[in-house]
Symmetry: C2
């Protein structure tokens, strides 16, 4: 039952934001009583906390898979964007700011995840890119990785990018491509352009999957 509550709460939070979803809504959707929910969780914030914790574990695993499946750091950066794009229609654009403003304890989990796993995987990505000659050798990986972490949160900030004017995924796409391009060497640009052309081709043919990306190699 605990798992069912978490999974339904996640779906509702992601789609409608946290503030507008009540314990009643969750109970109604599952066809159970509120009392049953309270047997497992003391309040909505505790559910949210657990949902975010589970989501982070899934993300870390998914990211490890992506890294092991991709052939080079450029593809790795761009595939993260594809992952975001796939989930975007299930994601309320105001969710991250909603959590930041009203559920600070749960937001801390998200920040810790960014400061630990995301920062680390960005650092590794940049160092790998440099050693393969795809990113400039004169960049400072620590500074750029930190800046990119802050960029990810920035793209969720609806004070700066109001959801009435921007789609979150457009902002993330703009920033990721700009971030990668800013690091590329000439050799890196050759690889990058192959992905961009392939992706544009896929979009034109209305293919949703990105399996084609994996066929290109860094060498």
């Amino acid at each position: 039952m605990k798992e069912r509550i978490l999974s339904e709460a996640e779906r509702l939070f992601w789609r409608y934001g946290v503030r507008s979803v009540t314990m009643d809504d969750i109970a109604r959707q599952l066809g159970i009583s509120k009392k049953t929910i309270y047997q497992h969780f003391s309040d909505k914030e505790q559910i949210l906390y657990q949902v975010i914790q589970d989501k982070i574990s899934t993300d870390v695993t998914e990211m490890q898979c992506v890294v092991s499946e991709t052939s080079n750091p450029i593809e790795e950066m761009l595939i993260v964007l594809e992952m975001m794009q796939k989930h975007q229609d299930q994601l309320s654009p105001n969710l991250v700011m909603d959590v930041k403003r009203h559920y600070p304890q749960a937001f801390t989990l998200f920040r810790e995840h960014m400061d630990r796993h995301i920062l680390k995987s960005l650092l590794e990505n940049i160092q790998k890119g440099i050693s393969l000659g795809l990113y400039r050798p004169d960049i400072n990986p620590a500074i750029l990785a930190r800046m990119r972490v802050e960029q990810i949160e920035l793209a969720f900030n609806n004070d700066f990018f109001p959801t009435s004017e921007y789609s979150m995924i457009d902002v993330q796409r703009e920033l990721i491509h700009h971030f990668v391009r800013g690091m590329l060497t000439e050799q890196g640009f050759t690889i990058y352009n192959q992905y961009v052309n392939l992706y544009n081709h896929d979009v034109q043919e209305n293919k949703a999957d990105t399996s084609g990306l994996a066929t290109l190699s860094a060498e």
Copy 2:
């Protein structure tokens, strides 16, 4: 007298941060009594407010001069860095965060300046770069200009870039070069590389001035 107080306060704040400078320090440096200061200002925060307001006016004028003197948007972006570099030894690295945390009213001035003048001049820079064929035509100027504004503040943030590990100017340099490179077209890279080579040459010859930059033209 008011002008003398403001000018000495600015020098002390910039060098030692705001918190550690007292009204007594300002009076002692000027060889006047504290009473004289209080005839012009009600407290230290009011002096700081005025200092920042004056600094912003000077910056806006200086920026307009830079824009009118530079030959293209790439040079314009890189010359801002030279300006920062010139003033860095007079600037306490913790100043911006000190003001943000302890003098919120004065910090608002800084934020308004960023959101108005800096954002506008970045937007113009990006649009000009696109129209000259130096920046990619497919970038979104509004998203990148906003991101760059947040980057400037980020580089001052000693939570992310502790002053024991990073010099503020190194962080700004890393981020500006990465920002510009992320927008460049092939034609843009040609111009950019000329400036970078010229600058490295200047550094090797221990020239502090950047007058040489103005001799290069976009065409």
